[in-house]
Symmetry: C2
Subunit: 229 residues, 2 copies
Amino acid sequence: MDTPVALLGGTGKLGPGLAMRLARAGVPVLIGSREAEKGVAAAGDINQKLRATGEDFTPVEGMDNAWAAARAHIAVITVPYEGQAAMLPALADSLHGKVVVSTAVPMRFEVGLGPVHIDVPEGSAAQQVAALLPESHVTAAFHSVSSAELKKLAQPLDGHVVVTGDDRKAKLETMSLVRLLPDVRPVDGGPLYCARYSEYLTVLLISVNGIYRTHAGVMLTNLPPDDAG
Amino acid sequence: MDTPVALLGGTGKLGPGLAMRLARAGVPVLIGSREAEKGVAAAGDINQKLRATGEDFTPVEGMDNAWAAARAHIAVITVPYEGQAAMLPALADSLHGKVVVSTAVPMRFEVGLGPVHIDVPEGSAAQQVAALLPESHVTAAFHSVSSAELKKLAQPLDGHVVVTGDDRKAKLETMSLVRLLPDVRPVDGGPLYCARYSEYLTVLLISVNGIYRTHAGVMLTNLPPDDAG
């Protein structure tokens, strides 16, 4: 993949690890931030970490979200659910006709219960993105990938990523993006409606993480081989 | 485990496979049905299939749900979600103080979408069981185990079963029950509140099944070894 992938709000939790993994796979990554200076600083930090590994990579670039969205071929939203409704409307024109990947898991911690989901009026974070960006091809992916594990570059990720979406071509492009992460397999989970189940699954993983003190991921069993379709 | 496990509504989809697997592990299984004759017939059929394998097993017994509930040490509810509200109130006294395992996944198929969940007023099928059986120790498990795969006795199941519940002892007993299935590992998913995420996960698996024409199961990655707690 030699077309740019933008990480909108890429200076946060998921962005840096995802940027590093994709940069090592040769993808030109654009780190978008609310302020261009923050994006530039985060990109500098990421490139420095990548250089320290001694392995090949494509340097990442930092900029503001608007410019990242305008230059992107695919945009991945890496802000928490609470931030997306404020961020996306201004980017709708730049993202017109593009593949936009939702990764957010709407959740909070409740005393006595632990992690619980937040009800989203549109049904899921992904469907809210679709409502905010009606001219984009919205998919959902990467929910179950641990930000902490993503940053451990020496380790393969070794899990499955459920991808949902209503546009077939956008879903296939997202699945190709997932395949760039070492040892990660994309699994077609169905229409964007089903993104909620992938979001909820991550709440369950976070409950498990609290009990076992780990960063659990997920694999589906009994699947046919991935046809890289 | 030499104390009886009742499968309430055990003549349906999940019951026979679960009965066979547990019987092979030496568990005395009671197949409950609305009518005793149906329970007896199902048990006869199951025993015949088990005998045909040539392997050791503890014969299963058939009876009506009321008698199965009364004799059970642990009861597993194996009727679909739609049937539990009619079945359980009459069994509440017999199940007083006992471990009751919810397995139901409230779902339906919607044209153009595929499998979708059904909203449960109590939050999940498992929490509805807890509301209907306030004097029982309700846990939830087995959602993601394929009924079809359970019946393939020559094959290990090779997956994880997320167990949720509010009563620690009941949850540990349920996890021990799960360990009796060959190559299946129980994973503590948290309080009964989180049973919904295990139910939703199964809707996602059923969506995946439709796309890949399989019976997918689930494994979590990055867990510490099972301590058989």
